[in-house]
Structure formats: C-alpha cells, structure tokens
C-alpha cells in the first residue's frame, strides 16, 4: 500500500461532515486535500444518486479547486508586471485573477468562466483614476467647489453601479451561457434614492451636532442624547438600504434567458444586523476581557521585576492588541458577508432551481481569524492563501437544489459592455458580490 492509499483509507472512514469541516479550516496537507475532496464528493454523490432515483431534489454543492500556493504565484507575477508597467498591466492581472476564481469554482463538474476584456477594464481604470484625481485636485485647490462638484457628479453614481452590474454579470458564464443584468437607472433610483438621501441627511445631522457641541451651544449630555438618537436612526436605516440593494441586484439578474427571483424580507435583514452587531460585540467584549487580563498580568510581572512595565513589554502589548483587533475585524467582516450570502441564496430561485447557503459563525471564525493572524504575521503576503481559503469555504457552503440537471437553460441576447462603471465602483468600494 502506498502513501496515497493510506491517506485515502484514513479519510474514507471519516464522516461527511468531518471531512467538510477539515477542508474548511484547511487541515489537510497538499497531497491529502484532493483525496479528501474526492472522498467528500463520493459521499455526497451517494446522497445525490439516491435522491435522483427517487425523483427528489438533488443538492449540488459548489466546489472550489484552487490552492493558495498556485494563486500566490499568479498574484506575485502579475503584481510585478503591474509595478513594472506602472499599473497598466493590472487590467490583465485582474482578468487572470477573476478567471482563476471563476474557473476553479465548479458546479456539477463544470467551471464558471470570466470573459472581461482587459482593454475595456484598462479604459475604465484610466477614467476612474482621472475622476478621483480630479476630485482630489478640487478638494485641495478649490475646496469651496468640492461639495458642489460632488453633488453635480452624484447622478452618475447609480449609472456607474448599473454599468458595473451589467459588465460583471455579462462577463460571467457557466456551461456556455452568460449571466445578464436587466436593472435600469430609473429602477435603481426608485428603490434606492429615498433611504440613501435619508442616510446622507443623518450623517450631516451628526456632523452638525458635533460642531454645535464643540462650539458649546449644546451641553455634552444633550449631545450624547442627540448622537444616540441619530445613530439609532442610522442603525434602523442601514438594513433597509442593504435589503433594497440586494433585492434590486438579484431581481434583475438573469442566467441566459432565465431570470432569478428573490423573496427577501426586510425583517430578515434586521435579523442579520442584530446577529452581526450583537454577536460580534459580545465576541469583542470577551476578547477585550482576555486582553486586559493579559495586560494586567504583564504589568504585574513588570512591576515585580523592574518597578514598571518595560518598553519591550509595552511594544508586546501593542502588537497583541493590534493582532487581536485585526482578527476581530476579519471575523466580523466575513461573518456579516456570510450572513448576507446565506440569506440571499436561501431566498432566491432560478426557474425550478433553488439555492442553499449554510455558512456558519464558527466555520467563518476558523477561516477568517486565522487568515487575519497570518496576514498580520506576513505583512500581507498571506493574502492569496487567505483569499483562496475563504473562497473554498464559501463555495463548499453554497449549493444548488435542483429537481433534474442543468441542461435546460437557453441563451439570452448578450452584448459587449464597457468596464467603466465597474472600475469606478471598484475605487469607490461598492460591494458587488455575485
């Protein structure tokens, strides 16, 4: 019996859930991982077959086959070419990156694909950079015009978002069919404008209260009351904004000629925020208690030996605090994204097919916290591994539930689309996750 056989034997005796969990937290060695993935597929395949024969719903899980080492090499080579060409190559690098993540995401054995044209991405980036540089110049040379200019440009923001959705979906394909996006400028404004303006107004109100407080026109007690009130309103409004955003995004998404349909309830978005903002603070509180316990311990040690905590001790404490901060932030971000993704997929249909998202808090914790730790320790060089691990976790916790197979979709009419919108959106940091 050779090594591979031994590995296979050891893995095959594990439960399906156990293999999935170990894959999530990257516990397998490079040789063992493919075997584990194969075994997992086999075990799941047994379920699927029994389902198929009985005419029941079959669950096809997404599978991510990329590896951190592979993606690191792609990333670093493209980064160098990008630096040497003063950023021009970055458009080609982006296509390579997208293709790596799309093509390595498999559903029922077939990969997704990305078709973005590097030249249109470059064009979009040039315009985006000019846009930001222009704003920067106005801000720094003629500050009085900054807000009027921003206001004058604001009608373009919904346009950019639409273009970005269209570019991204039309350039994504599966089994030869392209996705598409049918949202319109008017539609986006109608669904998004009112809460957005309200949010901007609340932000402005917050700044105004701040100014009044520094000028001494209101008492600190009054200020905290007002700030609290405004903050509460913002908290009430943000889930609404996300709800409308996601509904708009998924109600207008199409695969070939078939349209996605989402049934997202506002209530569930409040649920997400409650979980992310109650669970996460609880976690942070726990972490802080541990940190201060540790600092107290260090300080006590320092006092007994030298009279006061030494500089080395102070630096050590600083590093530990920074590390924990980064881990907490990583987990919170990933957990929030996971909750949103679960919610959206569990309430979306495509013809007779449904979806399932089952990412969990502890699963995300395992992946994201260690990602944050290694990113910190390697000064960011761990990034490709972090990205791949998160993609693997997300893929393996997203599934399509289908009564048959994926043979019956037909193509819609597709057109070439410019990348300008997407690149601008990239810079302004909109979350566009399909």
């Amino acid at each position: 019996m050779n090594d591979a056989d031994v590995l296979r034997k050891n893995i095959s005796v594990m439960e399906e859930e156990e293999i999935a969990r170990r894959l999530d937290v990257d516990m397998f060695s490079d040789e063992a991982r493919p075997i584990a993935e194969e075994e997992l597929e086999k075990k799941r395949g047994v379920h699927e077959k029994t389902g198929k024969e009985a005419g029941e719903t079959v669950v096809y899980r997404l599978q991510f086959t990329g590896s951190g080492g592979e993606y690191f090499r792609i990333w670093i080579v493209n980064l160098l070419l990008g630096v040497l060409t003063l950023g021009i190559y970055s458009a080609w690098a982006k296509v390579r990156r997208e293709q790596y993540f799309h093509r390595n995401t498999l559903l029922d054995g077939s990969g997704f694909d990305y078709h973005g044209n590097p030249k249109s991405i470059l064009k979009g980036r040039v315009i985006a950079v000019a846009f930001v540089a222009g704003l920067w110049l106005v801000d720094n040379t003629a500050h009085a015009f900054y807000y009027p200019v921003l206001l004058a440009l604001s009608p373009f923001i919904p346009w950019m978002m639409i273009r970005s959705f269209i570019f991204r979906s039309r350039n994504t394909s599966f089994r030869g069919l392209h996705f598409d996006f049918h949202g319109t400028y008017k539609g986006l404004c109608k669904t998004y404008l009112a809460p957005f303006i309200a949010l901007i107004f609340l932000g402005w109100a917050m700044a105004y209260v701040g100014v009044m407080a520094t000028e001494g026109r209101i008492r600190p007690g009054e200020m905290s009351l007002m700030m609290g009130g405004i903050f509460f309103l913002i908290l009430l409004l943000t889930p609404m904004l996300l709800h409308r955003f996601k509904r708009f995004q998924f109600d207008h998404l199409a695969f070939g000629a078939s349209r996605f349909e989402s049934h997202l309830k506002l209530r569930s978005f409040y649920g997400i925020f409650l979980r992310a903002f109650v669970l996460a603070p609880a976690l942070i509180a726990l972490v802080l208690i541990l940190v201060f316990g540790f600092i107290g311990f260090m300080a006590a040690q320092g006092f007994t030996m030298t009279g006061a905590p030494g500089h080395t001790g102070r630096i050590a404490i600083g590093v530990i605090v920074a590390l924990i901060y980064i881990m907490v932030v990583s987990v919170q971000q990933a957990y929030f994204a996971a909750l949103t993704s679960n919610l959206v997929w569990n309430n979306t249909r495509l013809d007779a097919h449904a979806f399932k998202g089952d990412q969990t808090f502890w699963g995300i914790c395992g992946v994201a916290a260690s990602n944050g730790l290694f990113m910190f320790l390697t000064l960011g060089l761990y990034w490709p591994w972090a990205k791949v691990r998160l993609a693997r976790y997300r893929a393996s916790h997203t599934a399509v539930l289908t009564a048959g197979d994926f043979d019956d979709f037909a193509a819609g009419a597709a057109k070439e689309q410019s990348a300008i919108g997407e690149e601008l959106a990239d810079i302004f940091d909109f979350d566009i996750s399909l």
């Binding site: 086959t65 090499r73 080579v77 093509r103 498999l106 990969g111 030869g176 037909a410």
Partner: protein
C-alpha cells in the same frame, strides 16, 4: 489517441459528451452527431488555472469544449502546437515567483528611497502657494481654538523679532512665490512648550515659551531660518504628494487587512521622509545664517537649549510627557514641521525607535551643525 471532453454550443446549457483528437493543423471533434474538423487558427485555448478544467473556444460563436487537465490534454495541446504565454510559464514555478517577489520589493524600495522623493521635489514648486495657504489658514484657525493661546510678549519684542524675520526671509529669493503670505505669528502654547512651526502656506508660528527660553535673539532667528527652510524647500507640498502616494500604495497592499494597518504603515514610512526634511532644513538654515555673516552654530546652540529644557521636563514630569507628544503630533499633521526638541533622549529604547520618529536625534543634528559647517554650503 483521443481525449474525452464536454461540448457546449453556447445556445443552451446542455452538456454533450465528445472526444477530441489532434489532426494535421486541426482539431477533430467527434460527437454522436458526427465529426467536426476545426482549424488550429480558430481555436482559443484557456490559460491553465490550477487544476480547473481547460476550455477550447471556437471562432464565430460561443461554442466551446471543456476538458479536465492531465497528460492526455497536455499531449493534445502539444500536438496542436499550443504554447503557454510567458506570464503563465512564470506563474508555474516557485523559483520565478520568489524572484518576482524579490524584484517587487527592490522596485518598491527604489521608489520609496529615490523615485518618490525625486518626483515630489520636481512637482512641489508647481503646487500653487495659494492652495496650501488656505489649507494652512484652516489648520491654524483650528489650533487657535484649541492648543494655541494669544501671545503675551511685549509689543516691542515682537516688533524686533518680526524685523529680523523679514530680513532673514529677504535673503532667500526662493521664498518669493510666498509673497505677503509669508507671516510670523506669535502664540503661546503652555501645553506644547518651547517650539516653532512652519505651515506649508507660509505661516510660521513662534511660541512665547521658545522666545523666553532664548535670551539671545540670534538663536531665535536661527530657529526661524530652519522653519523658513521648510517653506523654501516646499516641504509641505512634498509631504502632501509623498504621503498621498504612500497612502494609496499602502491601501492597495494592506486595505484588505484593515484600515488601521494602512494608517500605521503610512505613518511609519512618512516619518522617514520627515527626518530627511529636518536635515535639509538644518542645512538650509546654515546657509542662510552664513549668508548673513552669522555662524550655523547659533542653531546648534538653540537646539541644545531646547533639548536640555525638554529633557529636564521629561525627567521632572515623566508621567505627563505623553501629553506633550500628542500635542506635537497635532502640529506636525497640519504644519510641515516643528523645531523638534522633544524627542530622543539617549535612553536605549528611544534610540532603537529612531526610525519611528519624525525628527533625527537632536544630538546628531547639533553635531552636524557644529562639526561640519562647510558641508552645509553645498
């Protein structure tokens, strides 16, 4: 030799099982519907992406084949005469990846140490003084409302200092673009202590505490010459350009980790530049002083006094010194530099962290000014 693959026609999502084989300058596609012959020129092969299946796209339509990787596919592609692009071949090997990593660090280091300072130096004189002036006015107004208090110096003393300052400024033609935006502002700042700031828009702020510390006006003029150096060399605009570029690069590199990491690394990298600028301002002050027939040692004396004062204060009220540091940082953010006297006692850790601080060690600066005044005349 044939290869099993899937064929998609691009019109529906139906998956057809086909087998592929290489012919003379063409691909043979065998399906239940019959055999198709596709010339090599009409085939676009996808780059290898790890272990993901590869695609072979055919010209004129969305049709393509998807085939799993393996020796059969490699043999087929070799027979079709397909070669991977250079970037893909680089990506395939760890050795090349590590060489690329080294090259990136060398390039970034070269940009940091030479490229960016050079570029900023070229661009800075073209940044309009008026723009910097309005930013500085805002910053000064903010500080006036918080840290700065009105000066209590006698009118006569102020007039005398102002006159000397104007004579000093007139000695450098490079200061001409500032015109009447160049101003000397008297303030008191008990929480900061003896110090002076130059705002990039031309406003120089002199604290009563500094005037009181130096009975010799010549030493005060030496410090003002240092501050004029920040203005003449356009350190404000240069810092703005450099820190913007560094912040952008840091955000691209570390933005995924956290914004705090971006802010910390930006601050660390910027501090290296500020130290060079302090040295440059010292050299400038030395030249300006000599041009007026004075000795650069005046600045050295002034720095020494400041250093002694701050050391004494630190020893006296070690617990309160952190407040002083915060105050200095505020000024640093808005202005282009202060005279720096609060830093680096000879305490071990401070020495260790020299690269963290915005000013070079005072001891080193004093030595530079005293020992080798000629070098300052470049």
């Amino acid at each position: 030799m044939t290869l099993d693959a899937h064929y998609f026609d691009g019109r529906s999502s139906r998956r057809h099982s086909v087998s592929l084989a290489a012919g003379e300058g063409c691909l043979l596609l065998d399906s239940p519907d019959g055999m198709r012959i596709i010339p090599v020129a009409d085939i676009r092969v996808s780059e290898p992406q790890g272990s993901a299946p590869r695609t072979l796209r055919f010209a004129g339509g969305d049709a393509f084949c998807e085939a799993g990787q393996g020796p059969e596919l490699d043999a087929l592609l070799a027979a079709l005469g397909y070669r991977n692009p250079v970037a893909v071949r680089l990506q395939g090997r760890w050795r090349w990846a590590l060489i690329c990593l080294g090259a990136i660090f060398l390039t970034l280091a070269a940009c940091y140490f030479w490229g960016l300072p050079w570029g900023a130096k070229v661009i800075a004189p073209h940044v309009p003084v008026s723009a910097m002036h309005s930013i500085s006015e805002t910053a000064l107004a903010q500080l006036d409302g918080s840290l700065f208090k009105p000066s209590t110096l006698p009118e006569e003393r102020r007039r005398k200092l102002l006159k000397g300052f104007q004579a000093l400024a007139a000695a450098d033609p490079d200061l001409a673009p500032f015109g009447d935006r160049l101003s000397l502002n008297f303030r008191a700042a008990p929480r900061i202590g003896p110090n002076a700031f130059a705002f990039p828009g031309g406003q120089i702020v002199l604290f009563d505490e500094l005037v009181r510390l130096h009975d010799d006006d010549e030493e005060i003029f030496a410090i003002l010459a240092h501050e004029l150096g920040h203005l003449s060399k356009r350190h404000g605009a240069r810092q703005l350009i450099q820190s913007s570029v560094i912040a952008a690069v840091a955000a691209a590199w570390l933005g995924d980790i956290s914004y705090a990491a971006v802010a910390v690394s930006t601050a660390l990298l910027n501090s290296g530049y500020s130290r060079d600028m302090e040295r440059e301002a010292d050299d400038y002050a030395a030249i300006l002083l000599r041009r007026q027939g004075k000795s650069p040692a005046l600045l050295a004396n002034a720095l020494e006094k400041l250093d002694r004062f701050h050391q004494a204060r630190q020893r006296g009220t070690a617990s309160r010194s952190s407040g002083t540091e915060t105050a200095d940082k505020t000024g640093e953010k808005n202005g282009s530099g202060n005279t720096a006297s609060d830093d680096e006692d000879e305490d071990g850790i401070e020495k260790h962290l020299d690269w963290l601080s915005s000013h070079p060690g005072t001891g080193e600066r004093i030595r530079r000014l005293r020992e080798n005044p000629e070098s300052a005349d470049r």
